[in-house]
Every structure is written in structure tokens, then in C-alpha cells.
Amino acid sequence: MSPSESPCKDRIIFVTREDHETPSNAELIAEDPDDPYEEQGLILPNGDINWNCPCLGGMASGPCGSQFKEAFSCFHYSKEEVKGSECIDNFRNMQECMQRYPELYPQEEDKAESNSGSASDPPTEGSALPSETDSAPASSEPESAVPSDSMSPTDDQTAS
């Protein structure tokens, strides 16, 4: 069967690797990082934390959400030499809360103590769309290896 019944409607182009070697001359519109319509990364243009970032998954919205927000905010705005060193109490609160919900926050000893604000243990929480895995926030802090749990089953990011 021929590939296309009405050649005008469905065009097919086969390309070789060489055909696509030259850079594209297709023009894309420049992105505006401050565009309010766009999905924001972990840190908003004004410096605040975007609690609704899919990368955080359900961390900010679960039962321990307020403790997490306090701890992470404290860390984020910390100006100490050892960033977040004054936030020990907040992190302890958060950890205590999380220990009460082992199903939601499986305890992994080595990561749980992390003072760098990486809530990287809370695994089953949080969600990222498959789309979000691609556009993971570039400006997020190095420690925020906050894993996303998937709201979508084909999400590539680890849910711990």
C-alpha cells in the first residue's frame, strides 16, 4: 500500500543521518525567563521557592508539608557560612514528622540527616509529569536532588 493516499495531505520525508547533520535554520522565539505564564522551576524569578514545583512532588503538600517548608525556607535564605547551620531545629522537626509517616517517607538513615536541605529521601511523595522530567528546573540548588515521584507512570525520574 502506498504510504500516502493523498500526497497533499500526508507528506512523508525520509532522512539520512547526513541530511540532518547541518544545523537547523528553523527559528525559535527566544524564551523569556520571567514570563509569568510559564511553568517555573524550583526558584521563582524573585528568588522565592516555588512550592508547587513538580520537582518537589508532594513534599510541600503532604502531612509534613509545613515542617518541610519551614526547614527548606530556612535553608534557602540562610546566609551563614555553613548554609543552613541555624536550621537544625527545623530539620529535626521535619524528620520527626516524617518518621510518623513511614509509608510516605521511607526512612533512609544516611540521607535523612542531610543538612543540605535535600529532602531526597521522601520518595513516594512528589510528582513529576513526564514533561517535567525533561524540563527539570535548571536553577535549582545543587543539593535539591529532590526526587519526584510520578504522577505519571512513565516518569523517568526515580521515585526512590
Binding site: 495531505k9 507528506r11 512523508i12 502531612p63 511523595e125
Partner: protein, 705 residues
Amino acid sequence: MLKCRTAWKKLAPLARASSTVCRQNVRRTGLTNGRIPALVPAAHMSTGPAGGGGGENRLYFALVGAAFVATGIYAYRTVKGDKQRYQERIDEISSRPSKATESDPEPPAAEAPETAAVEAAEPEAVPEPEPQAAPSAEEPSPSAPDAEAAAPSETTEPPPEPSAPSEPSPADLTEPPPAPVVESEPPAAAAAAESPAAEPAEPQPEVVAESAVEAVPALPKVPSHTPYLLIGGGTASFAAARSIRARDPNAKVLIVTDEPDLPYMRPPLSKELWFSDDPSVTDTLRFKQWNGKERSIYFQPASFYISPEELDSAENGGVAVLTGKKVVHMDVRGNKVKLDDETEISYDKCLIATGGVPRNLQVIERAGDEVMKRTTLFRKIEDFKALDKVSRNIQSVTIIGGGFLGSELACALGRRSNESDLEVIQMFPEKGNMGKVLPEYLSNWTTAKVKREGVKVIAEALVKSVTCKDDKLEIQLKDGRLVKTDHIVAAVGLEPNVDLAKSAGLEVDSDFGGYRVNAELQARSNIWVAGDAACFYDIRLGRRRVEHHDHAVVSGRLAGENMTGANKPYWHQSMFWSDLGPDVGYEAIGIVDSSLPTVGVFAKATAKDTPKAATEESGTGIRSESETEDTAVSPVASSLPAPVVQQNKDDYGKGVIFYLRDKVVVGIILWNVFNRMPIARKIIKDGEEHADLNEVAKLFNIHED
């Protein structure tokens, strides 16, 4: 019975009042309902028209008399109807000890009749009393003693009025923070309940009874007020709950769902769950993700949620899910909803995420119970469990429908047919699988793959009739073919659930179905709609309604943001994906409609370019299946934009397909090419006219992994 006597006592003054009222109303023109003018048309403007005064008077009295008689009949009929319902209410009240939660609905209920009587409203159920009742209901303080006073002091009946009068009053009174007067409420409730005893005022006894019913246990099972109410417990609702909780600290969110399950994701029900090795998968509902990790289809385990009883008092707020309850009525003016058990819940912000109900074929619906018993409409967890069970016990199953769900189920069942003797048939009116989505050449290619999964595909099949004979179903097609099978799965589309449109006064879209909302997903003040049920305005692509999982997530999240004050329009384009077996996988974004002109740019696929391979690449594999290796990535002959005739059918290994509308790319399919969705999203967002789509295709680097 006491009620009868009370009823007759009430009716007499009603009759008196009605005739007085009628006369008064004739003079008060602008305030009447349509019915009045119809009954007293001529006398409307004045009592002494230019023409004969005497004749006019006779006519006038005749009409008033007729009005009175009509009232009497109406009242009597309503009384009869109400008696039984009222009796049930009273039984319920008296059978339970009542402690008040809030006296709001009840005092206004009692006051509304009072004010209505004061207003001397007409007998003919005129909406006029409500606006007047509302402000005057405000004046007496919302406390039970007033209600007590109001109730016995009632002498006249308010007109029979569908829920309207009590609604504005409770609405106004829920705004000022209630000062529930606990002790006096039960007696007041009883008193107020008694006086409107046989009244044609239907809502009052109900509302009164409800407040008593609500107050029954120590903590109310259902909160009577919640700041955020989400109707529907699916993907969009959960995404919104999460968004609200993230943005509004300590937010209290109540999800009301008529399903017995907590929020769960739907795609695995027709994909991953079928491929699981675990025999108890129908109970655990766990599946293996792409990255090998197992997870449940439930978004969160039960410990994530708090119980509805605790919602009000939760210091840090939380998300509560009320299962097994359906919202049947929505009062937008009063900012509250009514459940199927008569409970009322008021809200500050409300999301409607009711999704939809699977469509059925008319021929099946008309075919009778025996056929319906052997038909599955697939959507929920219980449908998955039922189909799984059935498919193990039958010899032949037929799936009607060639779209996403039908094709996925066919492939899933087809895979199962390898182990068992199950015959899997799929039939649809299009020429090939996904005929409405994929351009014809790809649709044919997909159909071939589906057949290879073990499915007997019957294309261009229109079902004429279905009958049940000797325990087997016989499907008669319009072209004469007869298909015999044991069970039917109908996957012929989704009917968006707009049950609340009427009571809430929400607009329903006639082109796409669903509630019509703006670009910010708002239907009316304080009401948003997300997910399958939302027909929204997409700034880039125009008005549309999308029935995909990712859209539910994106729109639910956006609705949650807007419910907490964000005012952002739908902008981040959602995507969707489908895997039909290990060889065919694609991701898509935007408007992907096969009736649009398309341009497809392909490279020849290697064994590396399948969904399976994409995961093995990343090092976290799913178990591999044996598969013959494709030949190497040798380029195909021509790079000219002309269909290359010498290609075999199988050469659409991987590529990009652009869907165009007025020369602008509105949809893109990434065919066996993964992890490039952001580029696709960008192209659609730009909405530019590109002269050479091959150049655009270069951006995707399809030859690389």
C-alpha cells in the same frame, strides 16, 4: 394526625393571605412572577381601566378566585407529597440525639418562612420572596432563640417554593461566622420543623433536618464547611489538592468522590497492570514503572490523607477524601453543594473535576440485559478487576473501538492470549487502529503491529445489532459479517459528566461537551473545572477539551493555583503517550487529529529505538523479551520530500510527525523518539509558520538516541 390538623390550620390563613396577596400583587406590577400576569393579565396595570369598570371588576374577582383555587390545589398536592417525606425526616431526627454543629441553615430556614410571610408573598411560588427574605434574614441575629421565636410565631405559610428561598438566607448567614447555639438548636429544630409541618415549603424541613442530622455524632462525619471543595476524586482533583496545599499553607481541602477508592491514576489500568507477573495484581494494584521501580496506582497511600471528621480541626490543614458520596446539587449563589445523602457542604472555592462516564453503543443498550451483563464499559478500578476475572474464564473477547483505550486493551489482552486460549477480537469503523489520530500510513502500520500482538482486527466494522444466543454473543455487522464472542468491551469514547450544570447554572459546551470555562479554567466566580470535564480556552490552540492523563495533571494543578489566587491561563501544553506493545511507542502533544494535513520525517529504526530500548539504555531495565534485531541504521534512499515508493511498510521506525493547521504546527507526534518533548512543546508554543519542516525536524535529532 397532628400534621393534618396543622396543615388545615395553616391552609386557611394561606387561603386568606393568598387572596389578599393577589390583590396586592396586582398593584405591584414589576415584582411578580410570570404566572401572575398570565392569570391576571388585564387587570395588571390598574384596577379601573379606560373601558367598562364593572365588567373589569367581575373579571378581576373571577381571576382572583381562580388564583385562590389554583393555590389551594397546589398546596394540597404538595402537602400530600411532603407528608411522607416530612415523616421520614421527623423519624430520623427523633431517632438520633442531636447536637448542633451549626445553627446556620436552621435559623434562616425558620426565618425565611417568617420573612416570606411578612412579605406576604404570593401563593404561586414566586421567586420574589427570596431576595427580600435574604436581607431581612440578616437582621435577626443568626441564633437559635430567634428561630424558636420565629417558628411558633408563624401564622402564614410561605409559598411552595423549590429550594430557592432557603438558599440565599443560609448563604448570607454562613458568611458572618456562626455562633452556634448548641442547646437551643435541637428544640428549635424540632419547633421549626413542626411549624413548616405540612407546608408546601419543601426545603425548610429538609434544611432543618439536615443540620440536626449533621450534628449527630460527636464529630460530624462530613464537615459542613470547607474552604476548598473538590468534586471528583480523580487525577485532576488530586493534582489540584496538591497544588492548593503547596501554595496555601495549612489549607483544608475536601475531595468528594462517588467511587469507593482514593485518587488513583488511570493509564496503568489499560497498560502496565495487564503486563504484571504478580497474580495478586488485582488486589495490590501495583505495577512496574519504566525505571523498574514498583509503585501503586494510588497517588498516595491512605496515610497521606486525613479523615473528613478531622478536617475542620486540623491545625496544619490537610487533604480529606469523602468516598462513596455523590454531589447531586450545586447552589452557586449560596456557595454550597448537596450530596446524595442530603448533607450540605458549603465552600469558599470549588473545583469540579467529575471526569466522565464511558459511552456505550446504542445497539448494546437496546439489546437487553443478557447482552449488557456480558459487556464491560472500561474506566475504573472495578472495571479492571471485573475484566481481568472475566478474561480468564472465557474463550473469546471482542473490543469495540479503535482508539487509545480500545487498542491498548486489545494489545494487553492479546498478550494474555499467548498464554491462554483467549481469542481477542478488535473491531472499529475506521480503517486502522488510531485511525482518528494517526495519518493513514501510520495507522496501517500500527494495525499490523496490533495484529502481531495476537489480536484479530476487524476494520471498517459498524455494529448493527448484538444478541445473546446460547450463552454466546452474536455481533451482526452492517456489512453482513457475524462475529461470535463471549464478552464485549466497549471503548467508544467518554461522555463528560456535566450533571451539575443545571443546578449550578453552568454553561455546557455544545461542540466538545463538558463545562465551558475560560483560559484560567474558571466557570463562574469561585468555581473552576479541570480534567476530562473541562472545555477550556487554550490561548494557543483554541477552545478544546482534552481527555488525557497529563492534561488532567496539568489542568488540575493550574486550577489549584488559580483557586489560590494565581490567575494563570492554560499555557504549559500537556502531552500524552501510548505504547502498543514493545515495538510501538509514541509521545504526542497538541492537536493530533488525522484529518489535519501532516508532514512526517522519518529515519529508519534500529533495535535501539523502541520504548523497551529506551529504558534499557538508561540502565534500569524492564525485563526484556526476545526480539529479532533490526538491521543497522543505514539511511534510506531519498532525502527528497517525496514519498519514497521503494520503502517497505515497516520503515516508519522512528521520526517526527507534524500536524498543521493553516501552516502552523499545532500538534506533534514523536514516533519512537523519546525525551524530546520540551522541543516539541516549544515549537507549538511559538506557533510560527515554518517554511521547511525538515529544518524543524532537525531540532529533534532523531538519529541519535
